[in-house]
């Protein structure tokens, strides 16, 4: 079990490293001179040369990467090209704000989707299933910016109960931000729930048809016990992976939704960086999101171990 966990940890580290190599390569090695890109086509050659010097672009890419990654490991992502301030300080602040939305979304989406998915799976082809499946289809088919826009229309303009646009600075205290978290959370939860419900429903149906659930039923156990003790641990296994995958989507979704609500999180920071071609910021955000994604997958693996004794007791036991 320890071997298994450490193997997973190692592979997580490798994945993040590889992802940062890819990001670095994409940003720094793609056609076109980075300095020219940052300054725009009409920049004077002198300005370009100065920036190249400042960014250390005259050194080999490998060395630049090593510098950058060793800095990143210590939490130093370099200096923003626009503001001239260290990237990490701004990033952590925005990350904190985004975490408010992300954690709330995950909490809401995971609980509601598991409940809805299990209900739909258990009432397969009957009305609760039809209702849930239809809602799911709609949730999957409407992009998050549309949900956000409609929410603004409904809850901020028509019935003004919640702020449509956040006016707080990134450094505002958490308490001030809380009201602003509600709408983005709803918008993201709707979409995220839709995906997880589908998986949960399918896997509940699969497991409910499995022989061991039939056996448990034929033992004369009550439905509650059959579902909770026998079916759910196996049914939730594939759901865990989908949840982890959805976290990757969430980071993207956050960018869009934060933009709609002008919420001072990583998403908005990202869009500003793209606008300004602020490459150090872009790199930093990419690597941090990759790390978050990998961590979530790791958590899903640990969750799988809790649900599946086969993983816990080691793969090499007697069959």
């Amino acid at each position: 079990m320890i071997v298994y966990i450490s193997r997973r940890l190692l592979s997580a580290v490798v994945t993040v490293l590889l992802a940062s190599v890819i990001v670095f390569a994409a940003v720094q090695l793609l056609p076109g001179d980075v300095a020219t890109q940052v300054l725009g086509q009409d920049a004077t050659p002198d300005a370009v040369a100065a920036l190249r010097e400042q960014m250390g672009l005259n050194r080999p890419a490998v060395l630049r990467f090593l510098d950058w990654i060793t800095g990143a490991v210590r939490g130093d992502f370099g200096v923003s090209l626009v503001s001239g301030e260290p990237v990490s300080a701004t990033l952590w602040l925005h990350l904190r704000n985004t975490m408010l939305i992300a954690v709330a979304t995950i909490a809401v989406a995971v609980t509601s989707s598991i409940v809805l998915g299990v209900v739909a799976g258990l009432y397969r082809d009957r009305w609760p299933d039809t209702v849930v499946s239809t809602l799911t289809l709609i949730g999957m088919s409407v992009p998050e910016f549309v949900v956000a826009t409609l929410l603004v229309l409904a809850l901020s303009i028509t019935v003004p109960v919640l702020p449509a646009v956040v006016l707080d600075e990134a450094s505002a205290p958490v308490a001030d931000l809380l009201p602003a978290v509600v709408l983005p959370t709803i918008a993201l939860s709707v979409v995220m729930t839709a995906y997880i419900v589908r998986m949960t429903r399918t896997s509940v149906i699969d497991v409910m048809e499995s022989e061991f659930v039939t056996t448990a039923r034929l033992k004369g156990l009550g439905t509650g016990r059959v579902v909770v003790r026998h079916a759910l641990p196996s049914a939730l296994l594939p759901t865990l992976n989908v949840i982890a995958m959805n976290v990757a989507w969430l980071v993207g979704g956050v960018a869009v939704v934060e933009n709609v609500f002008n919420y001072p999180g990583v998403g908005r920071m990202l869009l500003e960086a793209v606008h300004n071609r602020d490459l150090p910021v872009l790199q930093a955000i990419a690597v941090v999101s990759a790390a978050v994604y990998v961590l979530c997958n790791l958590a899903a693996d640990l969750g799988a171990m809790a649900l599946n004794p086969r993983l816990r007791t080691g793969e090499r036991s007697a069959r």
Binding site: P143, M199, S203, A248, L271
Partner: protein, 299 residues
């Protein structure tokens, strides 16, 4: 013991010599969701093709004189802040959405299928290394990856197609590889290996025909995601450049005036949602007709 009533003894298998294609069509026709979905997609394609015939307004020309009009006889869904006809922009927007999404999806699925099959059949170190790299790419959120590509290469349809291919091909690889790995140990593939067939011919003759259904479902499903992703990108201002008629862009442009001319925002939203619902239902219908577990494939 297969005392099971569902399975080998089912009538679908015993009645006459119907081909796979016809069986599929029949089961598609029987499923209401599939019919609705395919009709929706077909309707969108038709509307996009016939756009010039259906509206006389230019989707891009400004007409300040008739800005922010409500729905009326001249403009069925009103006009936007620049006085452009909403219906016309939505119709032409369908052209843009369908072409770019189709091209991007086709590239991603084609590339993913080839690489996925190769990885599954070759196996070994190549496969291990490839999966590592793919894991790393998958760790970067799609929108972010797209934004990075757009930042470096600039906007425009070609860049979008390239970016979407880069972002989604790895996911297709995973799905196709898993499907191919499911086929690879089957006895008919083993028989080909025992005969000493080359990998390419095993792939083409034995594996591909048996994962074609997975690839098709994957295509329909990916297409729905790509439509969503591209519209999100446009919404953020990094996809289509104004004044291109694009649904995401329209929502972004008009949402501030939502109270005044709601249809300018709602029309593209409806268009977008119906197309994606159509694609989703088609994917569902196909996967059900072929017995592909779609929810699992998407993970």
């Amino acid at each position: 013991m297969t005392g099971s009533p569902h399975g080998a003894s089912g009538p679908a298998e015993t009645t006459g010599s119907t081909g796979t294609a016809r069986t599929t069509l029949r089961s598609l026709a029987r499923s209401t969701p599939a019919v609705v979905g395919l009709s929706l997609v077909a309707l969108h394609v038709l509307l996009a093709l016939l756009a010039p015939l259906l509206t006389s307004y230019s989707p891009t020309a400004n007409d300040p004189g008739s800005a922010l009009l409500g729905p009326g006889a001249d403009h069925w869904a009103g006009t936007d802040a620049y006085g452009r006809d909403v219906v016309s922009r939505v119709l032409y927007g369908g052209r843009y959405a369908l072409t770019v999404s189709f091209a991007a999806t086709a590239c991603a699925v084609a590339l993913g299928t080839v690489v996925g099959c190769a990885a599954a059949l070759k196996g070994g170190r190549l496969d291990d290394a490839l999966m590592r790299v793919l894991d790393a790419i998958l760790a970067i959120p799609p929108i972010l990856a797209l934004l990075v590509v757009v930042t470096v290469l600039g906007t425009g349809p070609a860049v979008i197609v390239l970016a979407v291919t880069v972002v989604y091909a790895p996911q297709v690889v995973r799905v196709v590889r898993a499907a191919a790995l499911g086929v690879a140990p089957l006895d008919y593939v083993t028989a080909a290996r025992a005969r000493g067939e080359r990998t390419v011919s095993i792939l083409v003759r034995e594996v591909l025909p048996n994962i074609a259904h997975v690839v098709s479902v994957e295509f329909a499903m990916r297409a729905s995601w790509v439509v969503l992703l591209i519209s999100s990108l446009s919404f953020l201002g990094f996809g289509a450049n104004p004044p291109t008629p694009d649904w995401g862009l329209m929502v972004a442009e008009n949402r501030t005036a939502m109270v005044v001319v709601p249809w300018a925002t709602l029309a593209p939203i409806i268009a977008l949602a119906t197309l994606v619902v159509g694609l989703n239902l088609s994917a569902d219908g196909l996967s059900r007709a072929w017995g592909v577990d779609r929810a699992k494939e998407s993970s």
